[in-house]
């Protein structure tokens, strides 16, 4: 799939919903709970379940990034699945919050 800034996706096997903050160029194999994430408006395929080892979960409002630090996703609804890119789990991104300005 091609990731676009602001695009929203859902997991097929848990409650997870995400929004793309910073996309990767080209094709991205983005999964949650071991299965490809789908467009927010799409229905999950039948018969899928959370894969073993891909069930470490994610946290609401947190940012996740890949090993290169290029991709950035934000969890808008948390779930039990592990977010991963090309099979590699994404890691929690350390946030440097700006001071409140309005």
């Amino acid at each position: 799939m091609q990731l676009k800034i602001g695009a929203r996706y859902r997991s097929q096997v848990c409650q997870t919903e995400i929004i793309v903050v910073r996309p990767l160029p080209g094709e991205a194999d983005l999964t949650c709970g071991g299965h490809r994430v789908v467009d927010l408006k799409e229905s999950p395929a039948a018969g899928l379940s959370l894969k073993e080892g891909a069930d470490t979960g994610n946290a609401l409002g947190k940012r996740y990034t890949d090993a290169s630090g290029t991709l950035e996703l934000l969890v808008t609804k948390p779930g039990q699945g592990t977010l991963a890119l090309g099979g590699e789990p994404l890691v929690l991104k350390e946030a440097k919050p700006l001071p409140a300005s309005d």
């Binding site: 800034i5 409002g61 700006l98 001071p99 409140a100 300005s101 309005d102």
Partner: protein
């Protein structure tokens, strides 16, 4: 989406109003879900709000989004014909109006008072949020129109979501944090504050009619931890305090923006609020609020530095927020050399650049012309020198009023100053400074001119100095230069001004 995230995480945490009887996140979510149904049932194509800041405002902002229609807070100070003109530009608006302004709206379809809105929204059955497209208009905000007919700025869902996600960490506010909002609902900072503070989990307290004593009182009484003000408000607060720092132990952050801050006001505020971190936020309606911030650390570093370049940053707008690119371009449309002044262009997902009835003014590469004159220093700090339209052209030389105003405000007898260009047969424009002396002091025009000449080039010394009791500002703190120019350009003004 943003409110759903907030409501699911905070639940019973106070979202709006006073700690004692405010509205919780869950109750706000409920009001918004019911309110979306109220809007849909009215068959409105948009929602307009004419009123003071208060709980009706954020509930309308979010209920409109949930109903999938644009929201337009209008300036409640406008006369009836001005409001009618703006309402005529909206698609079948549901008009929610404070009782105090009902008379200005007159008889029309789909009008309800703010009180009626809140009770209807609380009681109506909840409806699921509409499916909105990212590029749909979320907020249609009219510019203040200090230079002509108000323009309707289209802020799309994607602009506002980008702004929030780009600049705020979810749930980053500690329990007990509270922000005092003093800007009116029709200011972009009011839209920004409703979204960013709810997302961060910070309680919002509204001060409907700004008054410095009331502001200080609420900060102390409500345990306010952060406040956003426009420069004229901060000037009135420091005047109210004089030399005595207030008892406001909870106040940790003061954000200011919306107009240029006089250095003397900022320095007095820094002394009077030693425990607070100051944040300068620079942004435009068209950029979904803040695009650059000068952080508390930047303020402290500038204050404590002996390096003039670092110290000068106290008057800078700080550095761009994540996702925002800036470029300073010259009159030829090309980027200027490092450090030179020119027009500021910005680009990023939070930048709209789209006007109702006009369309997008972005260039082919997505850059938006701010019409602000600016320069960027070697460390990336942005200095805003005022509106490009305000630049005075005297004898072929470009003069930024801000440069002269910054010097005038340092004169010990002066509390305020505005520099404008007035048509002149010899020079094209001549430089006129309207100055306001402190009460009990007398200002001497010759001496003031000598003061400026000692610090700037001769061509930047005002040709005329006129003395005033006050300068005209809009309620949101913008200096109304047009009014000063109009007054000084009339034949009567020439006779009374001290021409030298």
């Amino acid at each position: 989406m943003l409110l759903d995230m907030a409501a699911s995480a905070y639940d019973s945490r106070a979202a709006l109003g006073r700690e004692a009887d405010g509205m919780s996140y869950e109750s706000l979510r409920r009001t918004v879900a019911g309110g979306a149904g109220v809007i849909r049932a009215s068959a409105a194509g948009s929602v307009a709000f004419i009123g003071l800041n208060g709980p009706a405002f954020p509930s309308l902002l979010m209920a409109s989004a949930a109903a999938g229609v644009p929201f337009s807070p209008l300036n409640y100070r406008l006369p009836a014909d001005g409001l009618a003109e703006l309402l005529a530009r909206l698609d079948r608006p549901l008009v929610v109006v404070d009782e105090a302004f009902e008379h200005a709206v007159g008889t029309r379809d789909r009008v309800m008072t703010s009180g009626a809105w809140l009770s209807a929204a609380r009681e109506a059955p909840e409806v699921p949020a509409a499916d909105v497209a990212d590029e749909d208009c979320a907020v249609l905000l009219f510019t203040s129109g200090t230079t002509g007919r108000p323009k309707g700025v289209v802020l799309r869902h994607e602009n506002l979501v980008s702004y929030v996600i780009g600049t705020v960490e979810f749930a980053s506010a500690d329990l007990g944090e509270a922000v005092l909002v003093s800007v009116p609902p029709y200011h972009v900072a009011a839209i920004g504050s409703a979204l960013t503070n709810l997302y961060a989990g910070r309680r919002m307290v509204y001060l409907p009619n700004f008054d410095p004593a009331a502001w200080l009182d609420i900060v102390a009484r409500e345990g306010i931890t952060g406040a956003m003000v426009v420069p004229t408000m901060l000037a009135r607060v420091v005047d109210e305090l004089g030399e005595t720092p207030p008892e406001v132990p909870t106040l940790r952050s003061i954000a200011y923006g919306g107009a240029r801050m006089p250095a003397t006001v900022l320095e007095r505020a820094l002394r009077l609020f030693p425990a607070a971190g100051f944040v300068n936020a620079y942004g435009l309606t068209e950029t979904s609020s803040t695009i650059a911030v000068l952080t508390p650390e930047d303020h402290r570093e500038a204050l404590g530095s002996d390096d003039p370049a670092v110290r000068a940053r106290l008057t800078s707008a700080g550095r761009p927020v994540p996702g925002i690119d800036v470029e300073v371009r010259g009159d030829d449309g090309r980027p200027v050399a490092d450090g030179d002044a020119g027009e500021l262009w910005v680009r990023g997902p939070q930048v709209s650049g789209v006007y109702e009835g006009i369309g997008s003014v972005l260039d082919a590469d997505g850059w938006f012309p701010t019409r602000d004159r600016a320069r960027v220093d070697s460390a990336g700090y942005l200095f805003i020198e005022g509106r490009a339209d305000d630049t005075i052209i005297r004898g072929g030389e470009n003069v930024a009023p801000a440069e002269i105003e910054d010097v005038l405000i340092r004169h010990p007898a002066l509390r305020d100053a505005a520099v404008v260009g007035v048509p002149d047969e010899e020079w094209g424009e001549r430089i006129v400074a309207a100055v306001v002396p402190y009460e009990g002091t007398t200002a001497d025009a010759d001496e003031i001119r000598a003061f400026v000449r000692a610090r700037l080039r001769g061509s930047r010394t005002p040709d005329d100095i006129v003395i005033r009791d006050s300068l005209p500002y809009s309620p949101t703190g913008k200096l109304l230069r047009r009014e000063i120019v109009a007054e000084l350009s009339s034949p009567a003004a020439v006779r009374t001004s001290e021409r030298m």
